[in-house]
């Protein structure tokens, strides 16, 4: 996935993506989506999106998160969000997107949730 905007860790068959998204632009968005598709194509169906290092989300990033959620669901996979900072939680709450995302408090809970399903 695209450059310094993320890191990927693996825990068994679960892919953990830590998003930082500093200085995110339209070009970065296209690159990120393309890279996410590649990750899915390689067979990563159980994914945890760790937002602990994401300080702010714009509407563009929200759209990208919605896109990721939808794509994972389309392939029959699971995507769990975890460790969301307060500010980001507020934005998700205002837009009611917290109603469509699967969110847990921390990574441990997310990993547990992914395994259970």
């Amino acid at each position: 996935m695209a450059g310094s905007m993320y890191r990927v860790e693996n825990q068994g068959n679960i892919t953990i993506v830590i998003l930082t998204l500093e200085g995110f632009t339209h070009e970065d968005n296209d690159e990120l989506m393309k890279a996410f598709d590649e990750l899915l194509a390689k067979g990563s169906k159980k994914m945890v999106l760790d937002l602990s290092e994401t300080r702010y989300v714009s509407s563009l990033i929200l759209a990208s998160l919605v896109y990721m959620q939808k794509k994972v669901q389309d392939v029959g996979g699971q995507l769990i969000f975890c460790s969301i900072p307060e500010r980001v939680k507020e934005i998700m709450s205002v837009t009611n997107l917290d109603k469509i995302f699967n969110i847990t408090e921390d990574r441990a809970q997310a990993l547990e949730a992914v395994v259970k399903k």
Partner: protein
């Protein structure tokens, strides 16, 4: 133009520097073992006397060298004036039968091409008559210099009284190789002697001097004084510092190498090179058949054209990074090739001009791309301006409130075109509808969805008077058509006769209301639902509100609350409430203006990162 620069050698001084560079990169070459240099050095002059040395010393030298079997002896200094011991010298020369003496011709400062052959030249320093007839061979030792004062080439022949006089080392070489120079053909790029010896030249007659190495690292040298001393010691059966048997079969160049003499000058390899070494190098080059060939104007021009075309092709095909790397690679490859050809094949091709062409091609192409990008950007900005104008057409041109409601709104895009949207519709005589929304993302893609949303809203707002139903219809239409984007929206309907308002939110909020009675700003609890375009089966909900005369309602996009200053601080909800409260008694237009000013003061010079939309409704009736 390339032909002109190449042909007329307009960058000659730089090409000469590049020529010298290749000499420096060339490993030292072996010299013919037959050639030795006998130095008249400082020690010789200190011991035997001031220059010019008495000629009986030269006579003694000749006798010693010949006694020990020297093949030939070439003097690199003139004997133009008769001297006391000339008779001894002449006798030694005659007895030896292998002595070569030099002439120097008068050369004018400005030299035309082919100068040495075009006209007769006068002798500047001749050989004394008593010595001339005894010499085995005579030749000129003129060493003309290039524009920078360096000796890089020598004329093989000079013309004197319609006859050709060979260069001294050439004369020696012909004798050594058994070639009689009776027939000389000048072919432009070579000189052919008696159909046996072909020498590559430039300018019809000039041989490039192939220096085998630095002065102190090329030819075997003996001191003039040491030879005479060694001979004397050998006769007195004393030990000698040199073995005179080493001189057997040698071609001995005798030259002046004492410090401070004028018989030296700059050459490609160093600044002080003795002229005797120049002649030795010429001889060495001929008998070893190791030459430096100037490929000539035509070949250089063709090479330059090929390099130029290759450089242009590289620069215009590929990304700027590839153009840079490709140009660097081309330049480096050509440099290595030119050095290789010079070192291993003695071929001299232009170096400076081709590299300059590569640089010029890269700079030129980069500038061209840059100007193209500027032009594209200008065109794009023009198109965006048009798009902006078109987008503005979608927004209500004049918000005509009613007697009961006064309305003011503004939208400030972050880029040329916005993703925010708002609209005002008159539903009935006492009812107005207000939509405010935000398409996820910015720029042209968001603006297109914004236009689509407003168009759909205007249709559905006429069909349906229930806020949640209008949002539901919008949602169904936008699902699957929003290209991965979504739209947050809030639809508010105000009935100023019944003093009721109803609203429905699809992820858009919050909503603040100024209550005149309490003189405070309150949050309206929104039963928000997900934005439009995400899930087709969503059922939106209505929120009901009582309103009274004097109340103010503000709808705004997150671009207002999240407007940032240079410190990263956000405008925030409290600031919005405070501004609304401060303007409680003002007109809606003045209130709107106040918001604009507040935001402007707050953000200062920080760049606007999101569209800002504000819609203010005042209940007047």
């Amino acid at each position: 133009m390339i032909g002109v620069v190449s042909g007329f050698r307009l960058l000659n001084s730089y090409e000469l520097l590049a020529y010298d560079l290749r000499f420096h990169l060339k490993p030292p070459q072996s010299t013919a073992k037959d050639i030795v240099i006998i130095d008249i050095d400082d020690q010789t002059l200190e011991t035997l006397g001031r220059w010019p040395l008495p000629r009986d010393f030269h006579a003694s030298l000749i006798d010693v060298l010949n006694e020990f079997g020297a093949k030939s002896i070439i003097f690199d200094f003139v004997f133009s004036e008769p001297m006391e011991s000339d008779h001894l010298f002449a006798e030694s020369i005659k007895n030896a039968g292998n002595i070569y003496l030099p002439l120097v011709f008068y050369i004018e400062a400005s030299q035309k091409k082919n100068y040495f052959l075009l006209e007769d030249h006068e002798i500047l320093a001749d050989i004394a008559e008593s010595l001339k007839s005894s010499a085995h061979g005579i030749g000129h030792i003129n060493t003309p210099v290039d524009s920078d004062g360096k000796t890089r080439r020598i004329p093989l022949f000079t013309r004197y009284h319609q006859k050709l006089v060979p260069q001294l080392a050439l004369k020696v070489a012909c004798d050594f190789l058994g070639v009689k120079a009776s027939k000389v053909e000048f072919k432009g790029d070579k000189v052919i002697l008696s159909n046996k010896l072909a020498l590559p030249v430039s300018n019809n007659n000039e041989l490039m001097v192939n220096y085998p190495g630095r002065w102190d690292k090329s030819f075997t040298r003996f001191s003039y004084l040491q030879i005479l001393t060694a001979y004397k010691n050998s006769k007195e059966r004393k030990p000698s510092s040199i073995d005179l048997k080493l001189l057997k079969n040698k071609i001995c160049f005798v030259g002046l190498t004492a410090a401070g003499t004028t018989d030296s000058g700059p050459v490609p390899l160093e600044n002080n090179y003795y002229k005797v070494g120049v002649h030795a190098s010429v001889l060495n080059s001929i008998i070893q058949n190791k030459f430096i060939r100037d490929v000539g104007m035509t070949v250089n021009t063709v090479i330059n054209l090929i390099i130029f075309c290759a450089a242009l092709w590289i620069c215009f095909n590929g990304t700027p990074l590839k153009a840079f790397l490709g140009s660097l690679g081309l330049g480096l490859t050509y440099f290595i090739l030119s050095v290789f050809l010079f070192n291993n094949c003695g071929i001299w091709i232009d170096l400076f001009f081709p590299l300059l062409l590569v640089v010029v091609s890269y700079v030129g192409s980069t500038s061209f791309r840059f100007l193209q990008e500027i032009r594209k950007r200008e065109l794009l900005e023009k198109e965006l301006e048009i798009a902006q104008t078109i987008q503005q057409q979608f927004l209500p041109k004049k918000i005509q409130g009613d007697d009961g409601l006064l309305v003011a709104a503004y939208m400030q895009p972050a880029k040329f075109v916005a993703g925010d949207l708002y609209d005002v519709v008159k539903i009935s005589d006492n009812k107005m509808g207000f939509l405010l929304g935000d398409v996820a993302g910015k720029g042209v893609p968001a603006s297109l969805l914004m236009a689509q949303t407003i168009s759909l809203f205007r249709i559905f707002a006429r069909q349906e008077t229930d806020c949640k139903e209008v949002l539901g219809l919008l949602n169904k239409e936008l699902c699957g058509k929003a290209a991965g984007r979504f739209v947050t929206a809030l639809y508010l309907m105000v009935d100023f006769e019944s003093h009721k308002a109803v609203l429905s939110s699809a992820g858009q909020g919050p909503l603040f209301v100024y209550r005149k009675k309490e003189d405070k700003v309150v949050d309206v609890e929104l039963e928000g639902n997900v934005p439009l375009g995400l899930m087709s089966t969503i059922n939106y909900t209505n929120v009901y509100l009582d309103i009274e005369k004097g109340d103010r309602i503000i709808l705004f996009s997150d671009g207002l609350s999240e407007a940032r200053n240079t410190k990263g601080e956000e405008f925030g909800y409290d600031h919005i409430k405070a501004t609304l409260l401060q303007n409680a008694g003002n007109s809606v237009e003045k209130t709107l203006e106040s918001f604009k000013q507040e935001v402007s003061l707050f953000v200062e010079r920080a760049e606007q990162h999101d569209d800002i939309t504000v819609l203010i409704i005042a209940v007047e009736k």
